[in-house]
Symmetry: D2
Subunit: 415 residues, 4 copies
């Protein structure tokens, strides 16, 4: 066993960490103000800060770092050695933690943000050369962004087989109807393409009824009706959209992998994405713990600094233990993904999906409490951080579904 | 022992409950929309719905119900038998629960909202006839509203002796300087008077250093700088203000009870107010549990309604047990207050202040989880409810301080 | 609402509490030593201390206090006003708490111990005059003791319909076969009668398959094979027996209420018994909290008494809150039983059955931790107390079954 | 990062695991019966099964596996390549987990049991050649056993500086007085030597007041007064003794390292020992989870196997997640110890000391609950396993002390 990072991971972690501290953290508040103003004015425009940061990051080779090795397609060359970094999940994990320290900004700066990362991986693994040229190349180049239209307002989407929006082949076209929500990224002005998952054949077996289709946002019949708040946070300009699809028609060449093969894609897609989410949350939890301790040292009550009062020190210890355990579990899951792919790490990926958002939520809550009422205001980043962690107990499958999967695998060992 | 409510409490609970269901719940969404628009437009105007509802409630005698018996001042007559209802804390508790079912609207409709209730009680118990005539009568009449300026941004206000803003007697005036925040109610257009608590004599003993003063909002030197969000919620038009006081001068006749006697007032003030808060939270928790069960019955995953999946039914049971225990604890605290006043129920009041917001927060979180992503949006009331419960783990003293008090009393029994 | 006890309850609580402190607590250690020696020597004899204490208690009228009013049978007279006290559940509850302070001894002293109390109630409500004369009178008189043979080693007895031991009518006899365990009380030399619950008609509907039969311990074919330890505690001389029944024959006149009516009896039997158990556990939790605080005040580490270190004071506060909430929940359940019987309090009784043993276990665990290693030895009563609380998370139905019932009732309100 | 074990660790883990399954598990019940009988008869004799198993294990080279590399003393040769295995902590960890599956027997079989391992390490690192020849060689040879006399009944030993028993140099002798308890191992007939820690100079600074001395058990004045039960478990024949020392005199050559240097030794001693304890507990938790699932699959209630009822499957998932996280945390701590010694892993070692016993206790409790009442009897190993885990929340420092250390280090990063 060796818990030290590879030299390459160590070096990149250092570079990314420094970039986050030196370039991103100083402009976070300005960025926040820009995009909030744009939301309130209704434009949802991106802040110019983003383009500047992206250019700087890309110039330092900190671009598409999430992209695994193993593709020698002709288009890859234009991204140099960074199309992408060719890192393993294990090597990428600590980079994601560093990005997570500025989670509302950094992942976008490095072109490593969900759902684009997952969509890029899908295009890389399952896309035709034409699909790759049309959508993957501009995504890797940061020229466009994308959405993933899966969750529906009308059904319990925790059971993905419930999905009721339709994607029916009609000759050489696919006809799409229905309603999706929580299509993250769809609020961004650069969002040009949606990966849509819909019911194509209700009579097929449970896991072959659905199809994934590439749907350009400007296709007639696609209407983004609103951007949804979570705990009153809009995550502008990214947004989480509710989208109506009415008789939307795209060519069958926009189908990914093949009709009825959506679950096959979904299964492979989610492992790395969950590792990214979880490592970013670890970064968030670390920030929260630091803020809690600093505040607890600065402020005094009843004659002692807050960190020395009552159970505060035990809560700090519990936070440290919880974070370190959770990080190790994610790193182990990443390593298992590297060793044998998604099927090798089904339980592990669900385990981290359960525990990490809960740990992050709890540590952030503790930090809010240490800050008193101020901790709930926007004078501190904690309210937004909490909301993000809370939302991730639902996004990509609620805790309960992942616990169910872990239990099923565990029980299966003893049948 | 008798766990049944008195006939009068039962009758009023029924009336208030019906009013909430029939008059308030149907217009809640409209009210919400009005005040949100007013906030976004910068006016923070009150919705006309409020005046209508207040008139109806008052016409039915559902007005100032919180106000305890025992005052036969001449001005009381004009409020008829309802100046106020003369209920005990024990009898008022179930009414507060009913109001809590529509907690963002109902307490205001019945003129039973914090911080006005606490301020009215202070004026009733400690105000001079002049102070009562000038401020209490219009408050009881619903013509004006008030704020309570205690918490400060610069110190750990969980230790009230930390308060650094000053209220210094200078001849026949009090000179006020400093900064307060979380002055709830100060956003409302009708907010005319602030109860200000400040340091008047740093050399006095710990509990006689501070003084409470009545400060009209329009006194020169009072500047409401902003209204604070909690988890991005503003509770408009009520608001939670940050207020700068610069060389504010009011006559010494505005001092409450006497110089250096702020703690004496504060101690008596908080018991009933905490019972009100807690019973309203019980009402919120009941609403959340109902919503959770209804959603869990409507939605199906993996072939079964959500309530039957995994640990959901156990969580519902745990919520029921937690709510029922918490309600009984509050009712017992109210009864103890009735029996022997605030000093008789110090531990009990702190106990409910710890447990009830935590129970409510947990039940609402469970309900959000049962609703999936939608539960975090504004399509459901859960996000706002959660924020309210979370904020009450800090408002009126954080959990930790109240746990400390409960522990001290408990340990004191065995010294 | 009125949280004060009735004058009669207050007076008896005082008497019982004083008896426990003055008569029982001083001899607890001697009693413990006597019965442990008797267990190690294999006799399982009762200590002579018991008879002495019982005589004293009875002389003071502290006898059969658990027995509800409402029976004017001729035999009742001989027990004077104490056959029994005719208390409501609500009035008896605080007495049970006092007994619970010395839970391994006091309930027996006052002839208020499980399972005799439940068996006496069953005989009182459902017994024929002959059954009452033969078994109830000597039980009330304290001349004999009894067992309740329900749980089976071979099936998940949490689902009572699983019971597989048989009680089949054959002419004017009932033939009994099968194996029971955790028949508490069966280790005692005075245990003369068992209430046996067995399958009589597998083809009847789920709740009419089982029959309750009175089986004298000395009936041929009854063999008590061993007394079971729980966490290595035997609760001698009471014991928890494993009993084999082989072709045991008793007359059909020993059937309680009627063939196939066991569930009807069981349902009515358990409400008060669970209130008793829970109130005794509240008494145990109070003792544990007192021990924790006393130890925490006596012992010093790192220059401060233990109660002031880290989270200890918060744990003390949490214990106080948890105990007070749990007690109120039990008292409310008792009151509901009084108002409308077992069917009126189904959820309430299951709620207390879930929460109280968990609270007691947790508080006792905290107290053990405060005592350091010594807390786990027999130098302190905590190890035995913990075991008792833990066992009650399983006895009379495991937590999970009661949570299931509470959930079903809760969900049923919204169907 | 590499989460795979080294080839040597993998091979030895396999060998030890197989030995546990094939040689130890089949005789566990017999061993248990032997030593229990010996306890009840008062001899506390060792079972002959032990010598047989030890011989077999040693013949396979599975002996002293815990002993780290790095000592080339002449006496080492006689233990061949196994004096000891020269494994790193990281490599030894999975072996300890395997031993932990039969934790009451296996560690002794492989001569890898506490407190002998810790004592051997101390002698190895700090012993003089004479001390090593006299005590270390027979310990490594399995001819004798040892105790560690540190905890005292009279003081809060969680603060080691509280220790009041004295070890005072008087010429060329050390005079020892006082009382120790929880001296584990002192019940065994082969226990010949005690490592005693006592106060030698009350005027020295806090961490130089105490001295460690080797005290042969048969020294005049040493009296083992009793063996202590924990939750009524004696862990015979090992035992946890209470020992009175009255004017015990040993030569100063028995002092370890030097007068006043006990803390220096203690600090280095505990890291690996805690890793061993924790990994054994991981083994215990795995056994408990397996037992829970198997029972939950076998038993049926309300028409479904227990594992499918209510929250049982979620509890199984939570157990898997908790165990895997805890194991990784221990492995990481072991690796840190290997990288930089005890001072490099102070926080990590305290973290595992907090979390692992709690996880094990909780998983075992869940397994007991799944077994119903039977789970608390000796028909299953769960009661003994629970007791062991619970005791380890106190042994080697209570949770609270270790949380305090973790917090101090964490807070120290931000001062």
């Amino acid at each position: 066993m060796d818990f030290s990072p590879s030299p390459r991971a160590a070096e990149l972690t250092d570079l990314v960490g420094r970039f986050v501290r030196e370039e991103i953290e100083p402009v976070q508040a300005d960025y926040r103000r820009d995009v909030e103003e744009a939301r309130l004015s209704g434009t949802w425009a991106e802040s110019p800060i983003m383009a500047d940061l992206r250019a700087k990051a890309r110039a330092q080779g900190l671009w598409n770092l999430f992209l695994p090795a193993g593709h020698d397609q002709p288009w890859a060359e234009q991204f140099g050695t960074h199309g992408g970094a060719g890192l393993t999940n294990s090597d990428y994990a600590p980079l994601a933690e560093q990005m997570g320290r500025a989670t509302f900004l950094a992942p976008y700066v490095f072109n490593c943000n969900a759902p684009d990362t997952g969509n890029m991986e899908v295009l890389l693994k399952y896309g035709t050369p034409e699909q790759q040229q049309e959508w993957l190349v501009p995504l890797l180049d940061g020229r466009i962004r994308s959405g993933f239209a899966m969750t529906e307002p009308g059904v319990a989407s925790s059971d993905a087989t419930n999905m009721a929006a339709t994607a029916v082949v009609d000759g050489d076209e696919v006809v799409i109807n229905g309603r999706k929500w929580f299509t993250s990224g769809s609020g961004h002005p650069d969002c040009k393409i949606l990966v849509f998952m819909g019911l194509s054949d209700p009579d097929a077996d449970r896991h072959h009824r659905h199809t994934m289709v590439l749907v350009p946002v400007d296709t007639p019949g696609v209407r983004i009706e609103r951007q949804l708040p979570t705990m009153h946070v809009y995550d502008e300009p990214v947004g989480h959209g509710e989208i109506a699809f009415t008789d939307v028609r795209v060519p069958t060449s926009n189908i990914l992998l093949g009709e009825g093969r959506a679950f096959e894609i979904a299964q492979g897609r989610l492992g790395p994405g969950r590792v990214h989410h979880c490592m970013r949350l670890i970064g968030q939890a670390e920030v929260a713990l630091e803020l809690a301790i600093k505040r607890g040292l600065e402020r005094t009550a009843f004659g002692r600094p807050l960190v020395k009062l009552g159970g505060n020190s035990e809560r700090i210890a519990d936070a440290r233990i919880a974070i370190d355990q959770a990080r190790l579990l994610v790193q182990n899951a990443a390593w298992k993904l590297d060793q044998g792919g998604a099927l090798n790490a089904l339980s592990e990926v669900s385990q981290i999906k359960v525990i990490v958002p809960n740990v992050a939520q709890q540590v952030i809550d503790m930090a809010m409490q240490m800050h008193g009422g101020g901790g709930m205001t926007d004078d501190f980043p904690l309210a937004a951080m909490w909301t993000n962690a809370r939302a991730l107990r639902l996004a990509d499958g609620p805790d309960e579904v992942h616990r169910g999967l872990v239990a099923r695998i565990e029980i299966g060992k003893h049948r």
